[in-house]
């Protein structure tokens, strides 16, 4: 049987089952089990695809190529590690009485539902279904953001809901326009005009004017979910107010998937327009987000909020890189997506523990982590160094490549890039430093922390920074070939 259906079916079924399980302890275990199984299935799928090349499911509903399969694997992997982390974490939350077992049920089933939506969005071949899945991703997470029912969390959830809903609606309009353009060319009677594979093969014939408009709507729509400035406003709120595992998957996965959708669209539009319009728009948004988020980092008081801004920053960088286009930049962007979601989810895990042991998310009340719980302190420091782009962590390599590509095609843009890096770095560490070092305040005590996911993630990022394993490089190169049409030198 095809692993693809496992990949999709497991989380779906898991979600349904978990909706029925009362005890949150058992639910946690099931959650981990299902996620692990999904991860395994996704690896199996990945191996298949790598072996046989792109794969179109018989009903043409699913299309797996090098580009999305590695995102599938990544998503499933992060989903697994986060599930592992979330079990003791949410346990602790329940003990602290922040959530009841009723809501834990919702949490677990929605967790799987979210994973399902993500995986569906990645694997589907139908732009419409892609949209549906993206919307579903919002709907599954929106209640989790307000899980704690604090006024802030409700507010955050509302903003998340409205802004993403409206945004995604724009995306639908864009999709309709795509469909419209396709039907103009491919005839009204056939019903496969919305399949990405079809659109991509006929991209050259699609009408540029329509696709330009469509791209604008899709950019604004999916861009909202990517968190591009000025459409980003929901992101820090949702990240900071939701439960930490949610922040981890939102930051590590949702943003990636939204960007994935955007890039798919870009591939179509480029095919039709033969101008760099899409690229330039993405570059503009990316750079703007990158710089603005870097500045925002300076004014944070909430630790999770701060790291969500750093997510915006890095998504901006990735969008920028995709916008540049060309093999090198695309390769860099793919790599950056990977290392960022690994690192960032690791950071959020650590941040979760930090917030628990300090009993607050306020930066000024978290002090001397290294003293209180060295594992957490060092973990946070290492993660932040990695995300700040210090070698030998992988983020450095991808940023290095992005700069390299920029230097080749847009030499003068390297200056704002470097400026942004420096500013963001300063913003991050001026807050991080007092949290990690110094003497901890009274009452800050250790918690039962599961640092395994962090270690695994950071180890992977380190590995990617020192040397990209051949199969992975091959993988990226295939994807690069797919997106940019050429191989990095």
């Amino acid at each position: 049987m095809n692993p693809l259906y496992l990949v999709l079916g497991l989380p779906l079924g898991g979600g349904l089952v978990l909706a029925l399980v009362r005890s949150h302890r058992i639910a946690g275990l099931i959650n981990v089990a299902v996620s692990t199984a999904t991860c395994g299935a996704s690896v199996w799928l990945a191996l298949n695809v790598l072996g046989t090349g792109p794969e179109l499911s018989p009903d043409k509903l699913f299309y797996i190529d090098a580009f999305n399969v590695y995102l599938v694997a990544l998503t499933a992997f992060v989903g697994m590690t986060t599930a592992i982390f979330s079990r003791p974490y949410m346990q602790h939350e329940v003990e602290r009485g922040r959530v009841g077992s009723q809501r834990m049920r919702l949490y677990h089933s929605m967790y799987q539902g979210f994973l399902f939506a993500m995986l569906l969005a990645l694997t589907t071949n139908n732009m419409g279904v892609l949209w549906v899945a993206m919307e579903a991703a919002t709907l599954t997470t929106v209640l989790l953001v307000s899980l704690y029912r604090t006024p802030e969390s409700v507010e955050a959830a509302w903003k998340y809901f409205i802004l993403c809903g409206v945004g995604i609606a724009q995306a639908l309009f864009g999709t309709v326009l795509l469909y419209f353009a396709a039907e103009r060319r491919l005839g009204a009677k056939r019903n496969d005009s919305l399949l990405w594979s079809v659109l991509h093969t006929h991209a050259a014939q699609l009408d540029p004017a329509v696709l330009a408009i469509a791209f604008v709507f899709l950019l604004v729509g999916y861009g909202t979910k990517v968190g591009l400035v000025p459409l980003h406003n929901w992101l820090p709120d949702a990240h900071s107010e939701g439960p930490t595992p949610m922040s981890a998957v939102l930051s590590g996965l949702l943003l990636n998937v939204a960007l994935y959708a955007l890039v798919r669209v870009k591939m179509l539009v480029d095919g039709s327009l033969h101008t760099a319009l899409a690229g330039h728009l993405m570059m503009g948004f990316g750079l703007l987000s990158f710089l603005v988020a870097g500045l925002f980092l300076h004014r944070q008081h909430d630790i999770k909020r701060m790291y969500s801004y750093s997510s915006i920053e890095h998504m901006g960088l990735t969008t920028f890189a995709f916008g540049i286009g060309g093999a090198l930049a695309t390769f860099a962007a793919l790599l950056h997506m990977t290392v960022h979601s690994l690192t960032k989810s690791a950071i959020f895990v650590t941040v979760g523990h930090a917030a628990q042991l300090a009993g607050t998310q306020r930066i000024e009340h978290i002090r001397g982590l290294i003293r209180t719980q060295p594992a957490v302190g060092w973990g946070l420091l290492a993660g932040s160094l990695a995300i700040a782009g210090f070698p030998p962590f992988g983020v450095f390599m991808s940023e290095f490549l992005v700069l390299n590509a920029t230097m080749k095609s847009w030499p003068w843009l390297t200056v704002p890039l470097l400026l942004g890096l420096a500013i963001a770095f300063a913003g991050l560490f001026r807050h991080l430093h007092p949290m990690i070092y110094g003497t901890p305040p009274v009452g800050q005590t250790r918690v039962k922390a599961n640092m395994l996911p962090v270690m695994v993630h950071l180890a992977l990022v380190l590995w990617l920074g020192l040397s990209i394993p051949l199969f992975l490089a091959h993988w990226f190169e295939q994807a690069t070939q797919l997106i940019s049409g050429s191989l990095p030198v």
Binding site: E135, T150, P151, V154, A157, F173, Y179
Partner: protein
């Protein structure tokens, strides 16, 4: 624009096609009404009417183009947009005791003017698209785009959560209208997916009304401003 625009006169259209255009105009009109409507309950009614018109349009398009699956989506729309969601909103408003609320729309006339400008803008934007459409309903893209943007305008100008939700839903209507009028509807699976999402969204909105109500004991979204980056 390599190909010549197909010249069209209203007169050489079939009656049904004319009907489509009329209902399109009406849908647009309802959006304007909503923009002007300050009371909650009438707002809901207007929204319901928009749903009705939408389903009528869909049915007409089905009739003209002979796409049978459009009848289903017409039905779906009617049930969902004209009955179910308005009813849910109504019930909520009842239970939240805000049916009599009147909110102060700042510069209502200005807003309507802006709406009109939007329509022009949309026409201007959609011109190249419309020119290569051979459909009878070629300018409907401009109309639907206008509906979408008017919905956003509604959300921007209104402070109560309910009004925002209605704005949101009217955006969905606009989308649906675009899908139907410009492309004879999306593939069925997508239609169903969208419908499902909209339904869930509506339910969730209901949940949120209560959550917001309990957290800030009002539905004024302007009071949801704890989370910001301004000076503390």
């Amino acid at each position: 624009m390599n190909l010549q625009p197909v010249t069209m006169h209203l007169t050489d259209l079939s009656l049904f096609s004319q009907g489509i255009l009329v209902s399109a105009a009406l849908v647009l009109f309802t959006s304007f009404v909503m923009l002007a409507q300050a009371r909650i309950q009438p707002l809901i009614y207007t929204f319901a009417w928009q749903g009705v018109l939408l389903s009528v349009t869909t049915a007409l398009v089905a009739l003209v183009s002979g796409h049978t699956h459009l009848y289903i989506s017409a039905l779906l729309t009617f049930v969902l947009k004209a009955l179910l969601i308005p009813w849910m909103l109504y019930r909520l408003v009842q239970r939240l005791h805000i049916q009599q609320d009147v909110e102060i729309v700042s510069h209502p006339s200005l807003t309507l003017l802006g709406g009109a400008v939007l329509v022009v803008f949309c026409y201007y934007v959609a011109l190249p698209v419309a020119q290569l459409s051979t459909l009878v309903t070629r300018n409907t893209i401009a109309v639907s785009m206008a509906i979408v943007l008017l919905g956003m305008l509604l959300m921007i100008t209104r402070r109560t959560a309910v009004a925002q939700v209605i704005g949101f839903m009217s955006i969905e209507n606009g989308l649906f209208f675009a899908a139907v009028a410009s492309t004879y509807g999306m593939p069925m699976i997508v239609e169903l997916g969208i419908a499902f999402d909209v339904l869930v969204a509506a339910v969730l909105f209901g949940v949120f009304f209560f959550q917001i109500r309990t957290s800030i004991d009002s539905l004024d979204v302007d009071r949801l401003n704890r989370l910001s980056e301004r000076e503390e």
